[in-house]
Structure formats: structure tokens, C-alpha cells
């Protein structure tokens, strides 16, 4: 730990003591992070199964089947973005590169949904390989509550970004599904890892977080992307991040960073 970081940590500790805030027990958060692990494994496992099915269907020239498998793989991936951006940023860039369509989900999306072609073998094989590598690592990956809070806050902010141009998955028309899966991932991460601890420290704040997650879920329950109330979505996403920032001190964690740091 650098001198500066020690200073920051000391300041935070003093602030917490002075304000009389009741901090969550670190062990409780660690247990929460461990409870999150099976969800994470299941999400990436689902993405991997979808990618394998996609490779098979595409190889068989089954465009409709390959598209369906792509959507399934994508759902598992988007549910897992709470941890992918922060814990495996390099893989994230390979699997979910945007707007470059040279590799990953969007390269395959352009072929299947854009050009209507199934010659995606190379990209599908690479996707399976990357997801498999990640799936193998997950059981031993060190999961820190701080990293997961960072990921939750970052994703909550990202959900509020405008999709007026059609969004990231505009070729397949599934940007709204991405958002719904992102919010499902936020919901699960928050309620599995942080909610109980925050409720003990500050029940009102826990309720505020929950209310905003529920509001986001209600907003993206719209029938299609053009009917998502974009202004309300953005406002709610920002209110959620602000609330999570406030909650971090009560949880004995640092304020979440909004961008994954370069390694």
C-alpha cells in the first residue's frame, strides 16, 4: 500500500469513527461475495453453453438456431457484467468488443443478424475458448466485495446511457435484453452480497437502493426499446449510483470507482 493510499485509508477510518456510522462486518460481505460465486459460474456457464450451441448450429448452417443460441449466450454474459469489467477486463474486451466487429459477440452478431450468414466458425470457436477459460477460472477467482461494489455501480451507471442510436446490440435488436440482463445482474449482486449488511447498518439506505433497482426493472419492462423512458432511466440509474456511493461508507468500503483501472 502506498503512503497516499494509507493516508486515504486512515482518513476514511477516522471519518467513520467520528461520524459514528455503524459499519458492516467485513466477514459478512466476504460471505456475500462467496454466495455470489455460484451465480457468476452459472451466468458464464450459460453463456458458454449458448456459445457452444451457436458454434454447432452455425456449422450446420442453421441460421435461426445460431441466432437463438447467440441470444442465449448473450443473456448469460450480460447478467455477469457486474464482475467481468473489473475482474477480467482483458477477456471482456475480447469477448464484448464494441464497436469493432473483428471479434467476440458483436462480430458474430453482424454476421448472423446483419449479413444473414453462418460462416462464423472462427469467431464462435474463439468465443467458446474465451468463455471456457473464464469459466474454469471462476471457482478460484478471488472475489472482493470492493470489486463487486465497483462493478455494480459501474454497470448501474452504464444502464443509464442513451440507446437512442439503437444501442450496442442494434443489429440483432436485443439492446433492451442487454439492459434487462444487466439490471438482473445488479439486482442479484446487490441483494446477495450487500443488502443484508447495509440493512443492518442503515435500513433506510438499503431500502433506497432496492427501490431504485425495482424502478429500473419497471422501466425496462417496456415492450420495446423505443418505449423505454430514457430520461427516467438515466435519472434512476444515477440516483442508484449516488446511493451506492453513500452506502459504501456504511459498508466499510471505499467509494466505488466508475471506471475499471488499467492493470
Amino acid at each position: 500500500m502506498t503512503v497516499n493510499k494509507m493516508r486515504v485509508a486512515t482518513c476514511l477510518a477516522v471519518l467513520v469513527m467520528l461520524s459514528g456510522v455503524r459499519c458492516a462486518d467485513a466477514a459478512v460481505l466476504d460471505e456475500g461475495a462467496e454466495r455470489y460465486r455460484p451465480y457468476m459460474i452459472e451466468g458464464i456457464g450459460s453463456a458458454l453453453a449458448g456459445a457452444r450451441a451457436l458454434r454447432e448450429r452455425a456449422a450446420a448452417g442453421d441460421l435461426a438456431g445460431a441466432k437463438k443460441a447467440w441470444v442465449s449466450a448473450r443473456a448469460g454474459w450480460e447478467r455477469s457484467e457486474v464482475f467481468t469489467t473489473g475482474f477480467v477486463p482483458e477477456l471482456d474486451a475480447q469477448i464484448d468488443a464494441w464497436p469493432n466487429a473483428d471479434s467476440g459477440f458483436h462480430a458474430i452478431e453482424a454476421k448472423l443478424f446483419g449479413a444473414g450468414q453462418t460462416d462464423v466458425d472462427k469467431d464462435a470457436a474463439a468465443l467458446v475458448e474465451h468463455l471456457n477459460d473464464l469459466h474454469v477460472k471462476l471457482k478460484d477467482m478471488q472475489l472482493t466485495p470492493q470489486g463487486l461494489l465497483d462493478g455494480t455501480a459501474r454497470l448501474a451507471y452504464e444502464v443509464g446511457e442513451s440507446k437512442a442510436d439503437g444501442g450496442e446490440s442494434r443489429i440483432s435488436g436485443t439492446s433492451l435484453d442487454d439492459m434487462r440482463n444487466n439490471i438482473a445482474g445488479i439486482d442479484f449482486a446487490y441483494h446477495t452480497i450487500f443488502s443484508a449488511a447495509l440493512n443492518t447498518a442503515d435500513g433506510k439506505l438499503d431500502e433506497m437502493v432496492t427501490t431504485r433497482i425495482e424502478l429500473l426493472e419497471a422501466i425496462v419492462a417496456a415492450p420495446d426499446l423505443p418505449h423505454v423512458d430514457i430520461a427516467r432511466l438515466r435519472q434512476t440509474s444515477e440516483e442508484l449510483v449516488v446511493t451506492l456511493q453513500t452506502a459504501s461508507a456504511k459498508l466499510g468500503l471505499q467509494r466505488p470507482t466508475l471506471e475499471a483501472q488499467v492493470r
Binding site: 474486451a93 446483419g114 444473414g116 439503437g166 442494434r170 423505443p226 471506471e259 488499467v262
Partner: protein, 458 residues
């Protein structure tokens, strides 16, 4: 610019810039899940933006009302549901108070630079069932240009603006303060200065022979109707107009458009049917049987180009320009927060926050593999802008809850970050941002590649 040749060369190079932007950097809306029709072109990615000149800045600083009006003008929130959902504001068409020659919306435009304000998309109740788009006009010098509307139907700028918001774009009835503020803003947008124009709209300084001949032809009575001349309607003056409507053979009565800064206001005529002064002169030659020679036409075009010029019509887009605009908008908050004006604070937070989010996306994140290098700088730039967005949101929450003092404290911190750290962080990341031409081109080439995959197959 003093030399006519230089002037023509500058105009030609300006047109070349715009034309090349159109080819290389077009980024239409796409997909089947968008509010705007597929292939809508808003030209938001252009790196050269029209320069905006304010009358009040010459005498000092812009007023609260002008800044509030500028903010509202650039806010989708004052318009109806469709515009809000699509992120369309008055400023989408009137970029920096000028026009938008590349704007094109399928079903609402017949060519780039025009738009059907009585079309089906934004307010179905205003739909006249006819595709009759009008040119998107520049608002420079609007205070001289009454009556308003291409047909001059409205004597009052205030009434005209209200009609655009409420009827054409189905927005909620705006408060008087908001309409007054937009009027103040529009009336403050000045013509770009043209050093070649002297008192009474006469050409001064170094004037070419062709321009002089054009000036004389401009005032010469038409051969078959000596009561008419070009200058009879485009009265050489501060704005080259007569505040009247005329039928010039284009399908009805339309008001005389200004010729000031017209070099940058193509397309021309009420519906934007003409791309160039040459086409305009040809039209008048035909419609009024003027019998112009090739030399006459050349001279008239030279004259129109001379009086339509303006100093530095475009400026390079960059973080500095956006931060300057945001700082102007911040002055609105500086007034609205202490007075606890919830509506204005909410409008400002929404508008500035969206501008900051858009600025953030000019610094590509890690997943954008079309950009390499400067990862740390980009992370710092993005992070600082996101922090600003969240600080504004805290201001909004505090004001909404009546905690004005908390909001003021948060706003002080926001302005401190905005002044002390953010400009340097953005400057540090600029080489890897979309403000860099090469990075910009790579990014949009990647986007085009994705979208072309779709259109190639259908």
C-alpha cells in the same frame, strides 16, 4: 478575409470540408429498435461545428436569460415524447444556432438540410399528410429577420417558438420564463462579421471587378418588369431583406431570406431545393427571363459569395468548446440553486448531465478495440466526467428535497472539479479521443462496418 480570391478559396475549402465529412464520417441511426427512422443522419459526429457569435458577448457577458435559453434550446426535455426519447432538441437541427446541411430524416426530409415540421413523426396531430419539408434555416441574426417561418406567417418570434415546441414537436406548454429565455437566446445570436460589407450593405475594401459588376447587376431593374430587381427584395442593408413575402416561381409566397452568411446556409430556397448560388441565379434567370450571360451569372455569384461571407464560419470541436458551453449552462445553476428553483435545476441537471455523458463517450473505453493507447488517460478522463454527472445528480436530489445549502456545497465542489482538474484530464486524453481525426475515423469506420453488414444483405 480581404482578397476575393482568398474568400472564394476559403469558401471552396469550407465546402470541401463539409463534403468530405459527409462522405467519410456519416453515422446514421440504425437498427429496428430506434425512435427515429433507420438511416436518420443527425451529423452529430461532425468535427467542425458552426461558430456561434453572441451580440451580448461583444459588450460583456451573456445574461442569465440567454444562457437559460441556450440550455433549453439544447434540451430534448422541453419537447414532446418522441423528441425526448430520441434525444432531439432544437439544437439538433440548428447546430450552434446555425443550420444543419447534413440533417436527413427518412419520411421527414426529401433531401439533406430540410425537414417536414408538419410530418407524422413528432406530432401526429400536426400531420398534414403531405411531405412538404422546409429548409432548416440558420438563426444567425434572427432579431433582424421578422416575420418568422419560411412563409413569414408569424410576426412574433415568441409565438413562433412556442408553436414549434407545442405544436410541431408536441411538447408540454412551456413556462413564460422558458419561452422568454429562448427568445433572448435566439435574438442574441449574431451574424458572423463580414469585413467586406460596409454601411448600407455596400462592398468595401478590396473588391474584385467581377464582384463590382455583380453588385451593379444586383440592383439593375429586371428587363421585363423594371419595378423589380434582386435588390428590391434583398435590400442592401444589415440583413439584405425587405421583411416581405414574394412569389419567385417556387410554388407560393415565401419570405425574403437573408443573404448575410448565406455562403454557409445551403441548401437554398424555402424547401432547400438548390445546392448552390449558381442554381439560384439560374432559377431567377429562367423565372424572370433576365437574359443573363454566363459572365453575368458568374458576376452575380461572385457578389453573392462576397456579401454572404463571414469570419471563421466553423470551429473545431473539442473538449474545450464543450466545457465552455457547459460552463455557460452552469451559470444557470448558480442562479437557480440558491433560489430553490426546482424546475430549472432539474432541466439544467438533465441537459448538462446528458452533455457530460456524450462528452464521456468521446473518450473510448477499453472495449473499443478500434482505439489503442492512452488507456490510463482515457480512464481518468471518463472517470472525472462521470463524477461530474453524479455530482449534478446530487445537486438535483438536494434541491428537490429542499436542501438548498447541501446543493450549494455540492455545486461548489462540482465547479471546483470542473475548473481545477477536468480540463487537464481531458487534454491529457485528447490524442486518444474522438476529437482526434484519426481516432474518430477509425471509430466510425468500425461502426459503419457493423452497420453495413446489415444493409449489404437486404
Amino acid at each position: 478575409m480581404t482578397s476575393p480570391w482568398l474568400r472564394l478559396a476559403a469558401l471552396a475549402s469550407g465546402l470541401l470540408v463539409v463534403a468530405s465529412l459527409g462522405r467519410a464520417l456519416a453515422f446514421p441511426v440504425d437498427g429496428n429498435q430506434t425512435v427515429l427512422p433507420t438511416k436518420t443522419e443527425l451529423n452529430e459526429d461532425a468535427l467542425d461545428k458552426p461558430r456561434e457569435v453572441f451580440q451580448s458577448e461583444r459588450a460583456g457577458a451573456k445574461s442569465y436569460m440567454v444562457n437559460l435559453g441556450d440550455l433549453a434550446f439544447n434540451s430534448p426535455a422541453i419537447l414532446g415524447d418522441v423528441a425526448r426519447q430520441a434525444g432531439v432538441s432544437c439544437g439538433t437541427c440548428h447546430v450552434n444556432g446555425a443550420g444543419n446541411a447534413k440533417f436527413f430524416m427518412p419520411k421527414m426530409s426529401t433531401r439533406p438540410g430540410n425537414f417536414d415540421v408538419t410530418g407524422p413523426l413528432f406530432n401526429p396531430k400536426a400531420n398534414n399528410l403531405v411531405l412538404d419539408p422546409v429548409r432548416i434555416p440558420s438563426l444567425r441574426g434572427a432579431r433582424y429577420l421578422a416575420p418568422y417561418g419560411s412563409d413569414g406567417r408569424s410576426a412574433s418570434l415568441r409565438d413562433f417558438i412556442r408553436n414549434v415546441i407545442v405544436n410541431e414537436f408536441a411538447g408540454p406548454e412551456p413556462s413564460s420564463a422558458i419561452i422568454d429565455a429562448i427568445v433572448a437566446y435566439v435574438q442574441d445570436i449574431d451574424f458572423l462579421p463580414n469585413p467586406s460589407l460596409g454601411p448600407g450593405g455596400r462592398l468595401v475594401g478590396k473588391v474584385s471587378e467581377s464582384e463590382r459588376r455583380g453588385e451593379a447587376l444586383f440592383s439593375k431593374p429586371f428587363p421585363h418588369d423594371p419595378a423589380l430587381s434582386c435588390a428590391g427584395c434583398h435590400v442592401p442593408s444589415a440583413a439584405f431583406i425587405d421583411h416581405q413575402q414574394h412569389d419567385v416561381g417556387s410554388g407560393g409566397l415565401f419570405k425574403t431570406p437573408t443573404l448575410r452568411n448565406a455562403d454557409f446556409n445551403a441548401p437554398y430556397f424555402h424547401d432547400g431545393r438548390f445546392d448552390s448560388f449558381d442554381q439560384v441565379v439560374d432559377h431567377f434567370d429562367r423565372a424572370f427571363d433576365l437574359g443573363l450571360s454566363a459572365q453575368d451569372k458568374h458576376d452575380l455569384v461572385a457578389y453573392l459569395t462576397a456579401i454572404g461571407d463571414g469570419v471563421q464560419p466553423y470551429e473545431r470541436d473539442g473538449a474545450g468548446a464543450t466545457l465552455k458551453e457547459i460552463n455557460d449552462f452552469n451559470t444557470v445553476l448558480a442562479t437557480a440553486i440558491p433560489s430553490g428553483d426546482k424546475a430549472v435545476v432539474a432541466l439544467a441537471v438533465d441537459t448538462i448531465g446528458q452533455e457530460l455523458r456524450e462528452l464521456t463517450e468521446r473518450y473510448p473505453d477499453r472495449k473499443n478495440t478500434s482505439v489503442s493507447g492512452g488507456e490510463q488517460q482515457r480512464v481518468l478522463a471518463r472517470n472525472s466526467l462521470k463524477e461530474l454527472v453524479l455530482m449534478l445528480r446530487r445537486v438535483d436530489i438536494a434541491v428537490a428535497e429542499g436542501r438548498t445549502a447541501d446543493a450549494a456545497t455540492e455545486f461548489r465542489n462540482y465547479r471546483y472539479l470542473m475548473a481545477a482538474a477536468v480540463p487537464a484530464l481531458l487534454a491529457g486524453a485528447e490524442p486518444w479521443s474522438l476529437f482526434n481525426q484519426n481516432v474518430h475515423d477509425q471509430h466510425y469506420a468500425a461502426l459503419r462496418q457493423v452497420m453495413q453488414s446489415k444493409h449489404l444483405s437486404h
